[in-house]
Amino acid sequence: MATEVHNLQELRRSASLATKVFVQRDYSDGTICQFQTKFPPELDSRIERQLFEETVKTLNSFYAEAEKIGGSSYLEGCLACATAYFIFLCMETHYEKVLKKISRYIQEQNEKIFAPRGLLLTDPVERGMRVIEISIYEDRCSSGSSSSGSSGSGSSSGGGGGAGAR
């Protein structure tokens, strides 16, 4: 486990990007936005499996909340239709509100959990909701830096996110 303590700004200044890992979407429940909770092998030495899975599960629950089909979403849809959608010029949709919550959550997670371990999570919205991009940093100035994740990811990434999400 990385023992160097970083905060976010220090990370950006002193660390160099070693590699990136992409957590793909999980389509087993249809087209709703969900990410695979499968633990990428490249992060094995960097972060505890449980922490990572908890982060992804929380993100998935946020997206489920945003896309929930129920009374409030119908009400919003009908109200918007009745105003010929002009109401969207002054009102934020429920989905947009949840996306803002997700941004704040990711920022928080980066500051508390990921940056101290030399990792950085990118908001999926900036990647078209296709992937969660995790940047793995190698500390340039530390003497005993932990091994970066760039070692032969070809063989290991074959198992990560291959056929099927089950």
Partner: protein, 364 residues
């Protein structure tokens, strides 16, 4: 002391987006490249309704009821609003993969399929997923370098992958996809009602007036009536039919694309896994479900290149969490990606900004 005012020209992301779209109002409006038929649609609707309000409505409001033009106006405004919403909004375009992501996926594919010998065409890249107990295949898009989500398709006219792709409609000048399908449906529905309304009241007008001054005199007095009736007659057959077809699709939670390909019909095919089995539930989901915002971020500001004259600290950066040092050009790089497989390693130094249309054409 003289003060120099330097005007910074900000480059917004829409200027660098790949694909064949046109953008207006500094990225707020997004349409397909060919807009001729869209202008025709606008002209027909505006023209017919102007004639109706100018001639028939004046007579009918007095003779029958003032509610007639009021209701017509409401229908007209609603159909124009939904038409403009359909035409100007992002249909649900999936942004192309950045070089790092594309390389990651390529490595995964090679690991699963094994390396392809030189000169041989690689097999079509398909991933199998199980959705609600049925196997659905995900196809790899060679242009966008992503595995398309289920129900997404690549529009060859706009050169974009679109989520829940329905069809590309030249009459609205845009693709119809996840984000604007409900506007499209409401547009054709309100247009059908408007057409029926105008047609019916034109007939009523001609009938009423003919009783007083005769049929030929009526037509001579308001020749626009003939034009309106003709336009409405031909529009009725096409638009009402289309509305019926889309009502059927909405009730079954299918897209035009799936219907044409016969994805869920036929003996040996799987059943539609996205349908709730209940017509009301399907309609509610498609028309009143949550509306995802656009992920294209057209109006985001692109950071200037490192090789430019301004130092990085004075730049306006986008809200990305990416650090400054390795990737201020990452966004630019992705949009200049050539069509053949790109490597994340040595990319050429960023070139001065080119208009998106030229980049797309160069790729072809």
């Amino acid at each position: 002391m003289s003060v120099m005012v330097v005007r910074k020209k900000v480059t917004r992301k829409w200027e660098k987006l790949p694909g064949r779209n046109t953008f207006c109002c500094d990225g707020r409006v997004m349409m397909a490249r060919q807009k001729g038929i869209f202008y025709l649609t606008l002209f027909l609707i505006l023209g017919t309704c102007t004639l109706f309000f100018a001639f028939e409505c004046r007579y009918l409001a007095v003779q029958l009821s003032p509610a007639i033009p009021v209701f017509a106006a409401m229908l007209f405004l609603f159909s124009m609003a939904t038409l403009l919403r359909t035409s100007f909004s992002d249909p649900g375009v999936i942004p192309r993969a950045l070089p790092d992501e594309a390389a990651f996926i390529e490595m995964e594919i090679e690991a699963t399929n094994g390396a392809v010998p030189q000169g041989q065409r690689p097999p079509p890249r398909i991933k199998n997923f199980q959705i609600n107990n049925q196997i659905v295949k995900l196809k790899y898009c060679y242009t966008c370098k992503i595995f398309r989500p289920p129900r997404a398709s690549h529009c060859s006219i706009c050169d974009n992958c679109v989520e829940r792709f329905d069809h590309h409609c030249p009459w609205v000048g845009n693709c119809v996809g996840k984000r604007n399908y409900r506007y499209f449906y409401l547009f054709i529905l309100s247009l059908s009602l408007l057409t029926i309304y105008v047609f019916a009241f034109n007939i009523v007008y001609v009938a009423l007036k003919s009783l007083k001054i005769g049929f030929l005199e009526t037509l001579k007095e308001t020749p626009g009536t003939v034009l309106e009736v003709l336009i409405c007659f031909f529009t009725l057959w096409s638009v009402v039919g289309l509305t019926g077809f889309h009502t059927f699709l909405v009730a079954l939670n299918q897209t035009t694309n799936e219907d044409i390909k016969g994805s869920w019909t036929g003996k040996n095919r799987v059943q539609n896994p996205y349908s709730h089995g209940n017509i009301v539930k399907n309609c509610c989901e498609v028309l009143c479900g949550p509306l995802p915002p656009s992920v294209l971020d057209r109006r985001g500001i692109l950071p200037l290149e490192e090789s430019g004259s301004r130092p990085p600290s004075t730049q306006e950066t986008s809200s990305s969490l990416l650090p400054q040092s390795p990737a201020p050009t990452e966004h630019l790089r992705s949009n200049e990606m050539p069509k053949d497989t790109s490597t994340p390693a040595e990319m050429p130094p960023p070139e001065p900004p080119e208009p998106p249309q030229e980049v797309a054409e160069a790729d072809k």
